[in-house]
């Protein structure tokens, strides 16, 4: 690890005024310290923001606001989250290990880097690490890589489970910029596809801080499911994951939400499949059709064709599970 200076500001304005390009914020550290040990991140200064940002969860009529520094395990165990946003709790508990969930922060989860093995191997090219060096996964081992939204520059996937539930529930990311200006970014616009800037995972303005994540009140608490398919039963990143949520009017689907992890550079929403389900009956045949619509848009790489069928199956199962959840 490269030597760095360290500070622990007590307020957000102190934290923001100390932030420059060679300076990095640290919260839980579960991803950043690993990247520093591997010389992928080499900040000259670390700013511990645990005392600068909110550690509270606040609920009101509009929904819930989760402070940036609330630990993942705290969110998953929060009575309001469990009661009104159970999909979020389930998604969090499907990710990482109890130890890591005790350390990882809410905003840090949004900002974690991909787990593409080529990103972590500094002896091989990676456009995410070094723009223009090439994508090793494109011609290499791309079993874990994307099946939608990728391009020749980058085929990495976003590793979060928490974020998949936030994407499904149309959360917003509350951000405070260098000028102290507060911005609210819709979750679908927060993370980005590789485009021509694969080095950037998201649209967080330069040197800004996430202060909280807000989830609007919704009617999805009764019918929801999180299905995660992975190489081992627990403590592994998703090959494919599906967050599903339905609002039912008797047998009829009033609204449907479907989002996936392990398939794209960002948490991926299946808008066409959602649109198809709207107004239809909650039947196995319709669920199968929705899954087929979503899987039909996939463009797999040489080693991950299996993910397309896996995705289709996972969506079907998730929608079925919504009825029994």
């Amino acid at each position: 690890m490269r030597p760095f200076t360290f500070s622990q500001p007590g307020t957000i304005s102190q934290a923001l005024s100390a932030k420059k390009d060679a300076v990095q914020f640290i919260a839980g550290g579960t991803n950043l310290l690993d990247l520093m040990k591997k010389h992928i991140a080499e900040p000259e200064t670390l700013i511990d923001v645990n005392k600068s940002l909110s550690q509270n969860i606040v609920t009101d009529q509009q929904g819930i606001s989760i402070g940036a520094m609330v630990k993942n395990s705290t969110v998953a165990a929060d009575p309001q989250v469990v009661k009104n946003f159970p999909l979020v709790a389930k998604a969090i508990l499907a990710g990482a290990s109890p130890q890591i969930r005790n350390m990882a922060s809410t905003s840090g989860n949004l900002l974690q880097r991909t787990r593409c093995p080529y990103f972590y191997d500094i002896s091989l090219p990676c456009n995410k690490r070094k723009q223009g060096s090439g994508c090793s996964a494109l011609q290499g081992d791309n079993r874990m890589s994307a099946i939608v939204g990728w391009n020749d520059q980058c085929v990495a996937v976003h590793p979060s489970d928490f974020c998949i539930s936030l994407a499904a529930l149309d959360a917003t990311v509350e951000v405070t910029g260098q000028d102290q200006q507060q911005v609210s970014i819709p979750f679908k616009d927060f993370h980005k596809l590789p485009e021509n800037t694969p080095g950037r995972d998201n649209n967080l303005p330069a040197n800004a801080l996430i202060t909280s994540v807000k989830i609007p009140a919704n009617g999805f608490a009764k019918h929801h499911a999180y299905v995660k398919v992975r190489d081992r039963d627990s403590y592994a990143f998703a090959l494919v994951s599906v967050a599903a949520a339905l609002q039912l009017d008797g047998q009829v689907i009033r609204e449907a939400r479907l989002a996936s992890g392990g398939v794209a550079h960002k948490p991926w929403r299946w808008y066409e499949a959602e649109q198809f389900l709207k107004g239809k009956k909650a039947t196995t045949a319709n669920f199968k059709q929705a899954a087929a619509i979503a899987a039909g848009t996939a463009k797999p790489l040489p080693h991950n064709k299996f993910k397309v069928l896996m995705l289709q199956g996972a969506i079907e199962v998730a929608l079925q599970n919504c009825l029994t959840a």
């Binding site: 360290f6 040990k37 511990d48």
Partner: protein, 196 residues
């Protein structure tokens, strides 16, 4: 009767290897090292630390890069906490910070002051083993023993959190601790025994 020296095996091995290595380096290499070290080795930053580990307070200056794991093992010689992967993938370094289980390899020592750290050395009450330690012995919860301190710290937390309602739940909430010997059945049994 021979006189008893207060020198640990670890200290003897470290010191004797360092001295022999130093003696074997040619003078020219030493001179080159002296000339170039200022720009080859970046100067380290130190931070003042005041930490509470197993109810004892410690104060010293440490390199800002020091992880809690290295602080325990290298600075305080509390070598019960093990370094497995050093990348947060195996759980061997699990300790409690303010009663919560965390990975000490991914925790900066500089972020711990003001918090209470408990390691495997702090579990027993004198000669009286913690019930989980006793259960691991009774239920064959280990073979080689390398992952065991991490497993026990995680197991104690698992019981405290109440994640012991079924074998499946125990397995899910112990998945952050890998055991290459495969003593998993004994570990689950130990946890069931303590959870009662």
């Amino acid at each position: 009767m021979s006189e008893k020296y207060n020198v640990s095996r670890r200290f003897f091995l470290k010191t004797s290897s360092a001295l022999s290595a130093l003696a074997l380096i040619p003078d020219k290499v030493k001179a080159l090292y002296e000339r170039t070290k200022s720009f080859l080795i970046p100067s380290k930053e130190t931070v003042p630390l005041s930490v509470t580990i197993n109810n004892k307070n410690y104060k010293f200056d440490a390199d800002s890069r020091t992880t809690l794991l290295d602080l325990l093992r290298e600075n305080l010689h509390l070598t019960g906490t093990k370094k497995g992967c050093d990348h947060g993938q195996c759980g061997a370094c699990t300790v409690h910070v303010d009663g919560q289980r965390v990975l000490s390899c991914l925790t900066l020592a500089a972020m711990v002051p003001g918090k209470k750290v408990t390691t495997i050395e702090g579990l027993a009450d004198g000669d009286q083993l913690h019930p989980m330690q006793a259960a691991f012995i009774e239920c064959d919860g280990f073979q080689c023993g390398y992952c065991t301190p991490g497993q026990i710290m995680s197991a104690v937390a698992c019981v405290n959190e109440g994640h012991t309602r079924s074998v499946a739940e125990i397995k899910e909430f112990m998945s952050g601790n890998l055991c290459r010997c495969g003593a998993y059945n004994g570990i689950v049994e130990s946890i069931q025994k303590v959870a009662g």
